[in-house]
Point group: C2
Chain length 345, copies 2
């Protein structure tokens, strides 16, 4: 660990970041298997320049633990409800370990049947979905992932919360390269972005949300107490509904409204399910899969040749830098994280 | 058939509309099995108030036939490349018959494995995707469908066409009700909408597209010669890329650019593939499926209770009216359709 010259930031190697995350999560009472899986996700976020899903999430995760929202020693239980389906009951623990538990069988089934699905049930979500789809694309599969959250977002045409921020993630394997990966909320913006504006006393754009009476507002606090909007009008709203259905009732798990009700005002991380689909390119294509994946590269080239970015370019660029230089976090955040250790050590 | 009092419109019963569509398609040289499947889709569009996907498409389909873009007597060939995958090679014919050929096996596999996928290869597309997902939802399955089109749409951050209008459709079964169905283009608007503005000499909004030099323009003709934009900024653009990949290289079929190249300036309907995913709620849920589908109804109620519409409400309302009153089309369109018969009879 090194203090930057201005001492406003702290630089950590990836090993130091991992070690710090593990110590904090252990001190919070999380069982070793969960510590390992959760720390890895946070370090990956920080490494990829996603500060809001990086070490900052130590504050979020330990808060959910302290509030009793998370089962700290849940042992994920795997079963196979149908030949091409895998289900992991996370037992109220964080989602990461449940995914790790289900992933090998999902991969095996996708390769065997051509397509397969994994449902994570009864898990707590604080992270992005790209780690899941990137991991599967890294094994040569095409992957989709969906999860509801808490009911914060109004359907298009309405003004009262029904949906969560309901992300959709997609991963596509690229031979010899990082996978093509996207992961976006179906809300107009991240809830954290509105929270940042509130803290800074700044207004939000008028199309981000409504106040509790259903009126348009540019006051961040009023949107947080009212309803966020979906991205892309009725199309984004339709996708948000799809995420609720796929990763809620279809897998026997909570909708965003039910998750918020289960939270009972504790302001913990969302509780519920996640649905992950995996397709094997060799399923439809057999030995020709490589040749068709190569045709996909022409699509990516046509996008990049005109100066447009692929969705994960910035993340991968940050990753390359972090591998050599480690990660840099605000000194204030570093102090806040260390305080979590003081309380417990 | 009745002329409305003002004689600007013609009213047809659904049977009359079906009979007219069949006669026109037969006269165009389409084989009987294709006539049946294609006519049914057009009547469904007209019946549901989707005029642009209704009997108007008789002009589009017969134009593609006249240009030699479509194989009029293609016999779809079905195979099973993997246990949970179905593939239908449409042989260059319209997509409708290929879907009908693959549908029973897709349904059977979804019920047997929990999830299954159907690829339609080498088919010509002129229609919406909702008929496919609605049919599957009508059999109690959850369905997703994707198809590329012609390269008309620029990626976010670029100004040159790469993507098609690339629709995404979703269907969800509702016990005792019409399924929850959406079907939207990932382009900012339908290409036909820009075409209408061009004919009417009207400008288009500045965020619909670019001219051939990559500059923003409000001139419809310039957007048609340049590039359309995706909906929802980088999120819509990411979805458009996903559709290209899923219903292109993943199933060994054309991207939108390759479809446009294959068209070779004939301005025919897009040629290529379509991917349809189907999940059986009983796969994850067994006997509890009904109870969880009922929870989904609470989501729909929360949307509708605040005055927001479900995606297909207008279509279903139009359908209810059409069942009693038939459909009403412009007299000019009716004359244009009858001309197609005069040429051939």
């Amino acid at each position: 660990m090194t203090l930057a010259p201005d001492a406003d930031t702290v630089r950590l190697s990836l090993d130091e970041a991992r070690s710090l995350a593990r110590r904090v999560l252990s001190a919070a009472g999380l069982s070793p298997a969960h510590v390992e899986a959760v720390a890895e996700t946070m370090v990956a976020g920080e490494r990829d320049g996603c500060a809001s899903h990086g070490l900052y999430r130590l504050l979020v995760a330990t808060d959910s633990i302290a509030k009793g929202v998370v089962s700290v020693d849940a042992v994920p239980a795997l079963d196979e409800p149908a030949p091409a389906l895998v289900r992991v009951d996370g037992g109220g623990g964080f989602a990461q370990l449940a995914f790790e538990r289900g992933r090998p069988l999902l991969v095996e089934k996708a390769r065997r049947f051509g397509i397969a699905a994994l449902a994570l049930n009864n898990v707590v979500h604080f992270a992005a979905l790209w780690p899941e789809v990137e991991a599967l694309a890294g094994e040569g599969l095409v992957a989709l992932a969906f999860t509801p959250s808490h009911a914060w977002v109004a359907p298009e045409g309405g003004t009262r919360p029904v949906f969560g921020t309901n992300p959709v993630a997609f991963g596509w394997p690229r031979p010899g390269r990082h996978p093509f990966v996207f992961d976006f909320a179906t809300s107009a913006t991240a809830r954290g972005e509105i929270e940042l504006r509130r803290r800074a006393g700044q207004p939000v754009p008028a199309d981000w949300g409504y106040d509790a009476d259903g009126a348009s507002t540019t006051v961040a606090k009023e949107v947080l107490a009212g309803a966020m909007r979906t991205f892309g009008g009725h199309k984004g709203s339709a996708l948000a509904a799809m995420v609720e259905l796929l990763a809620g009732p279809l897998i026997g798990d909570l909708t965003s409204q039910e998750s918020l009700d289960a939270d009972a005002g504790r302001k913990g991380s969302p509780l519920g399910g996640e649905l992950i689909l995996a397709l094997d390119p060799a399923g439809f294509l057999g030995a020709a899969a490589g040749q068709h994946l190569q045709r996909a590269e022409a699509l990516f080239e046509a996008i990049q040749a005109q100066g447009a970015r692929l969705p994960s370019e910035r993340r991968y660029a940050a990753r390359a830098v972090s591998a050599h230089e480690g990660v840099t976090i605000p000194a204030a955040l570093h102090r806040d994280i260390l305080k979590l250790l003081e309380r417990k050590d």
